[in-house]
């Protein structure tokens, strides 16, 4: 099957700072692809390239046919930005009409499409309100409507859930599910929420401009091992040495905690149990998360501050 999006060896610098470093990935038609990464990892930069706003310094990006012009690509993508793109002084309806006009839609067909989408997002009774009086969650839903107006084949979202509370986020993801079921749209989205990445078909993990892992969430988690043991301690360094002596295993120190990836966690836990009294405040055994994948591949925690 022909991929819907090709990103080939893309690198980009801002001044001297490397924002993206040889990224290669593909997204299949109908797939939901997540780009997971902490702040500053290059998500928005890659997003801007995908939606034709920023030409990469190096490498190639291809959406649709390789000969498609920028404007043909633009006509076929629906975009939600990290920052709001609605005109707060206009009403919901005015915003959507204007958006339709940008895509050559007008008159009856446009009104019908707007009605249909407002209905789908249960926004119909807010249509005449100015955007500035809507809550953040409602505004985000209008943004979603806006991106869908022209029946795009590919949706590209940059942190679509920023500023939403957990309830609104859940609601947004339910909306996405409806959308995919209805139209079978290809969807690329960036996020720094692990839980959101878990819901994608496939994800790419970005760290400091590099794609450090790619695959389905299950695949990626399997690479870590079946289980993860986390030890809370006041002396991570010392504990690490001790663990090496007792069970001959590698461990990692992340955010002041010691982590061990393993396959038979229960046995290991039993072996480490004696440490609980003297060195260790708490021991947890859990199945790996995507955060563990990130930690294992990068050697640092997901919330990096030292950029």
């Amino acid at each position: 099957m022909e991929a819907a999006i090709y990103v080939e060896n893309v690198s980009h610098k801002f001044g001297g700072r490397i924002a993206l470093d040889s990224i290669t990935l593909q997204v299949m038609p109908g797939e939901m692809y997540g780009l997971l990464g902490p702040n500053g990892s290059g998500k928005t930069t890659l997003f801007r390239m995908l939606c034709t706003m920023l030409p990469p310094d190096h490498g190639r990006i291809r959406l649709m046919d390789k000969n498609a012009s920028a404007s043909a690509v633009r006509a076929n993508i629906g975009v939600v930005f990290q920052h709001p793109s609605l005109d707060a002084r206009l009403t919901v309806l005015e915003n959507l009409r204007h958006q339709g006009h940008l895509y050559g839609l007008k008159g009856r067909p446009l009104s019908q499409r707007i009605e249909e989408l407002l209905d789908m997002m249960t926004l119909t009774d807010r249509a005449k309100d100015r955007v500035e009086v809507l809550s953040g969650g409602l505004q985000r839903r209008v943004e979603l409507c806006k991106s869908l107006l022209h029946h795009p084949e590919v949706l590209i979202f940059d942190e679509p859930c920023t500023g939403l509370d957990p309830g609104a986020r859940r609601r947004f993801w339910d909306d996405l599910d409806i959308l995919r079921r209805t139209y079978g749209t290809t969807l690329v989205l960036t996020t720094h929420f692990i839980e959101e990445a878990e819901r994608c078909d496939r994800i790419g993990i970005l760290d400091r401009g590099r794609l450090i892992a790619e695959g389905s969430p299950e695949e990626l988690k399997r690479t870590v091992g079946r289980e993860v043991i986390t030890l809370e301690t006041r002396d991570p360094k010392g504990l690490q040495l001790q663990i090496e002596k007792i069970v001959r295993r590698d461990s990692q120190i992340i955010d002041g905690q010691v982590r061990i990836a393993c396959d038979k966690g229960q046995q290991l836990l039993a072996q480490l149990y004696p440490l609980l009294q003297e060195k260790v405040q708490a021991m947890t055994l859990s199945v790996p998360t995507l955060e563990d994948v990130f930690v294992q591949r990068t050697g640092h925690g997901f919330q990096v501050e030292d950029l």
Partner: protein, 256 residues
Amino acid sequence: MRMAFWLPVVSLWRRELVRFARDRNRLFGAIGQPLVFWLLLGAGFEKSFAPQGIASGYLEYIYPGILLLILLFTAIFSTISVIEDRREGFMQSVLVAPVSRIGLVLGKVLGGGTLAFLESLIFLVFLIFLDIPISIASLGLTLIFLAVMGIALTALGFAIAWQASSTAGFHAVMNLLLFPMWVLSGAFFPAEGASRWLAYLMAINPLTYGMDGLRQSLYLTTSGANTHLWFCAIISVAFAALTLSAAVWQVYRIKN
């Protein structure tokens, strides 16, 4: 497939008008300050300043200059939003839509230009307090100059705003470039009395010709059309074409 060119242009243009109509502050902002300027400067210099050929004094002399100032202020107000809109606001979605860059510039500039024109129309009402004989021809020509200069200044504001990284930077350019351009357009004092280097600066300032054209249009009934008026018209139209091209060029040039 080619999108209809004018649909997005008209839509962008209308957005400018709707936003403006919903913001009372802007209506008075762009006209209030020039009005105060006019009254204070006019009254202050009334006695000390006596330009040749103008009987009724300084208030009348700077009247066309204030018209130009209103165009300038409105142009600045309506393009300043571009700075934030482009990276983190409304313009983002225009940039990823299949809208030609020329259409984008035209919609925004024609919108801002229309507002500038309308604001100057309001100020034109004060003509009744001045002793300038007005005919259909002089009024018509004045309106044409106002429209052309309104578009030229909005396009200039757009071209500057598109590359500005902050509103503070835009204000700096305004204070260091746009406002001096206005002062040196003959709005404030004529080139005849000025020192030689000032007169040179005024001669190369494109606004000088818009200003002069505006002034001559207003006095058309008494002085009649002449070749100089045509010269002013050509320079002004060329200036508008140049600033529009600069605006389009900026949109193509700056990609991040």
